[in-house]
């Protein structure tokens, strides 16, 4: 701790400064903008942490070996789900401010009145609380079990995790879909997109991979996790590469079908985002979320190049923030709002998230030493 003191103090100062800005923004720029920012960061941290847990779950599901040595990194990052719980409960305050389906005016709109039970605050809150609870259950079984295995060296954990993984996949699918429908497309309840949950999943998993890469490079810079070589990094790079393509595939498929059919209630989502400053932002999103990482990672060497992976990962985290901002902020009005409240929120949550992540990097051993497949994973060759 002593060696990291200066940077820790910097983070703490940043978080404190951000917190002041966050509170001030509620009174200066109004509750709507405050809640929009809050939801962006709630979703950012939730999808990131859930994506990390998904990475752990999918390893157990398919009995992957290569990722065993670096599994502790997403395991530790997925503990971000713990601070996400209060953030999510606070975010419920946004429901009656921002979400048209939960406002009293909704009863005048026949489309919304018919779905009042689903869109209203009580059931909305129930779904959110249930989602968070299910995620915590996943965290308990997969991550706490793995940390415990460090001491017990009991391979029973692997069997348990393997049996639990399919259950977790179902939980994950439901939670991420509810997250997308309730918290994002709920801002525009007349608008439908069946694939929206998958879209959010693609972005969230990408953010999780990016965070894993950054944490890995941070640990390796301290001389830890030396067993992880270019071959492991190559797989992470290939995952990021694949998911930038997957994200754009889903995003474009969603857009193209709506563009073709041109139904008023469907194209409205894109019409808003193709006007004024939002149009520039839409193009920027496509460039930094797809074009740049695609060409940055297309070659074989680039995927295992630590420096290249690190800046692509940073870019992908930024792109995920931009993606969420692009999904949520157009609801506030025509103009692109970005000034000190957004910066303050960014400072608060980034610094807070980093402080949590840095602490979490000391939980358990650096590698799951109790896992019987660790040796196999260390031997991994492409």
């Amino acid at each position: 701790m002593t060696t990291q003191a200066p940077s820790s103090r910097l983070l703490l100062a940043l978080a404190a400064l951000g917190a002041v800005g966050v509170v001030a923004s509620y009174f200066v720029t109004g509750p709507e903008r405050f809640w929009a920012n809050w939801i962006v960061w709630f979703l950012f941290l939730f999808t990131l942490a859930l994506g990390c847990l998904f990475m752990v779950g999918i390893e157990h599901l398919v009995a992957a070996r290569w990722s065993v040595p670096l599994r502790r990194v997403p395991e530790r990052l997925s503990t971000l789900l713990l601070p996400v719980v209060p953030i999510g409960l606070i975010a419920l305050g946004a429901v009656s401010v921002l979400y048209p389906g939960a406002k009293p005016e909704a009863l005048q709109n026949p489309l919304l009145a018919g779905k009042a039970t689903w869109l209203g605050l009580p059931f909305f809150s129930l779904r959110t609380v249930l989602s968070l609870a299910l995620c915590l259950w996943g965290l308990r079984v997969l991550v706490m079990g793995s940390l415990k295995q460090d001491l017990t060296k009991d391979p029973a954990y692997n069997l348990k995790a393997r049996r639990f993984a399919p259950v977790f996949m179902a939980i994950f699918a439901v939670v991420i879909t509810l997250l997308a429908y309730d918290w994002v497309s709920g801002l525009m309840p007349e608008w439908y997109s069946d694939i929206f949950g998958v879209y959010l999943f693609a972005g969230g998993f990408l953010a999780a991979l990016a965070a894993t890469v950054l944490a890995l490079s941070h640990l390796q810079a301290q001389g830890r996790l030396t067993g992880i070589r270019g071959d492991h990094r190559y797989n992470l790079g290939a995952f990021i590469f694949a998911f930038t393509v997957f994200w754009s595939y889903i995003g474009f498929a969603q857009y193209m079908l709506m563009w073709y059919a041109n139904l008023p209630e469907e194209v409205l989502w894109y019409k808003i985002r193709f006007e004024g400053g939002w149009h520039t932002l839409t193009i920027t999103l496509a460039v930094i979320h797809f074009v740049v990482p695609f060409f940055a990672l297309v070659t074989r060497d680039a995927k295992s190049n630590a420096a290249r992976l690190k800046w692509v990962a940073l870019l992908m985290l930024g792109a995920h923030y931009l993606d969420l901002y692009w999904m949520i902020f157009p609801m506030l009005g025509k103009g692109v709002l970005f000034s000190w409240p957004e910066v303050a929120f960014g400072a608060f949550f980034v610094a807070g998230g980093l402080m949590w992540a840095r602490r979490s990097m000391n939980w358990g051993e650096d590698m799951p030493v109790g896992d019987p497949f660790l040796a196999k994973g260390l031997e991994f060759h492409l």
């Binding site: 474009f252 193209m256 563009w259 073709y260 041109n262």
Partner: protein, 374 residues
């Protein structure tokens, strides 16, 4: 004496093989190759194989595929034959993307597959000398062979020495086989290349031919029907016409009955227009425009042209015309009578019948009854 193709050194363990590679390589006797029952990690680096150029080829061809698909779709839908489909602009790039994606994948996979097999692996490759070796059976099962191959010459004795020094358990010398000219990768590649060039050339020639010689219309289905051209006699019908005349008395849809036959035949026609103010206004307008110049504003045959014109126009108010049926007056308007020309071209049905009503009104005006004055 046949030339030596290679000397095989057989090893019992992959580690022994890996250790032998640098020793044999250092002697620099010929091309080094290994034959193993399964892939061994690190073999590429140990042999010093160059990085496969396939990745670059696939990227180039993939980008080329995307550009080809975009260019082709842009050209057909926005340049050569622009058609608005589904209310979208002809150059809607969104609609191009799925096809660009597919063509990119097509080009990339074909390049990867064919490039690997034909260009880099040089397949088809029949009768490699190693396949004829006695050690082949063991190599596919549990032994690991290191070969020093002629490049282009090989000192067999030195090679044997080198392999034995490197720890080979067994040695085997392979003779050079005469090359087989049949179906080499060069031949296949050239054939495929020729087919591709021929396809592109045939497409270009076909396109040019259709553009330059419209005598070869691409789609002539509607043009090539078994039908008679204009002014051609039809042998099938007795009157030699292709089109049948309508049955007499046929009234076209949306048209009023026409006066055919003699004036007497037209007696049966009745005026279809109602006697409304609008009808009389139209009738007056038509009468003033087309009739009054000869028949006079009152219809009594004293029009302004009468003096200059030899013929004497009819006095429409006379008893003879008062006794006419509506149809007979109508017939006279359509066909003309005596010196009066036909007005058919100038007046449509409605105007003619309105004029008939107006003539009736004029007749009544000149021969009013007592009750009309009340």
């Amino acid at each position: 004496m046949p030339k030596t193709f290679a000397v095989l050194g057989l090893f019992d363990h992959p580690d022994a093989l890996m250790q032998a590679i640098p020793q044999v390589k250092a002697k620099n006797l010929g091309r080094i190759e290994t034959y193993t029952p399964y892939p061994i990690h690190g073999m590429d680096e140990a042999l010093g194989l160059r990085r496969s150029p396939l990745g670059g080829m696939v990227l180039v061809m993939g980008v080329l595929g995307a550009l080809t698909a975009f260019g082709f779709q842009y050209w057909i839908s926005a340049v050569d034959y622009p058609i608005v489909t589904g209310g979208k602009a002809p150059w809607s790039w969104e609609a191009f993307i799925p096809i660009m994606f597919e063509v990119t994948v097509l080009f990339a996979t074909f390049t990867a597959g064919l490039g690997m097999l034909l260009l880099l692996n040089k397949l088809p490759f029949f009768g490699h000398p190693v396949l004829q070796s006695k050690a082949m059976r063991a190599i596919t099962r549990d032994r690991f062979a290191l070969a020093i191959e002629a490049d282009p010459e090989l000192d067999a004795e030195a090679a044997r020495e080198a392999l034995r020094a490197a720890g080979a358990a067994d040695l085997e010398v392979l003779e050079q086989e005469p090359p087989k000219p049949f179906l080499t990768s060069d031949f296949v590649l050239r054939t495929l290349g020729a087919i591709a060039i021929a396809c592109v050339a045939a497409g270009a020639v076909m396109y040019g031919a259709i553009k330059l010689f419209p005598v070869l219309p691409p789609m002539s289905h509607m043009q090539d029907q078994p039908r008679l051209g204009p002014q051609q006699a039809n042998a099938f019908f007795a009157d030699g016409r292709s089109m049948r005349m309508p049955v007499s008395g046929t009234v076209a849809r949306g048209h009023l009955p026409a006066a055919t036959g003699t004036q007497d035949d037209a007696k049966t026609l009745s005026n279809p227009l109602p006697r409304t103010e609008a009808t009389f206004a139209l009738g007056k307008q038509v009468f003033t425009r087309r009739c009054a110049v000869c028949h006079g504003a009152l219809g009594n045959g004293t029009g302004s042209l009468t003096a200059a014109y030899g013929a004497k126009p009819a006095n429409l108010t006379a008893q003879m015309f008062r006794d006419y049926a509506d149809g007979q007056i109508y017939w006279a308007i359509v066909h003309g009578k005596n010196a009066m020309p036909s007005q058919a071209a100038e007046l449509d049905d409605k105007e003619r019948w309105a004029a008939v009503h107006y003539v009736r009104a004029l007749q009544r005006a000149q021969n009013a009854k007592d009750e009309d004055l009340r």
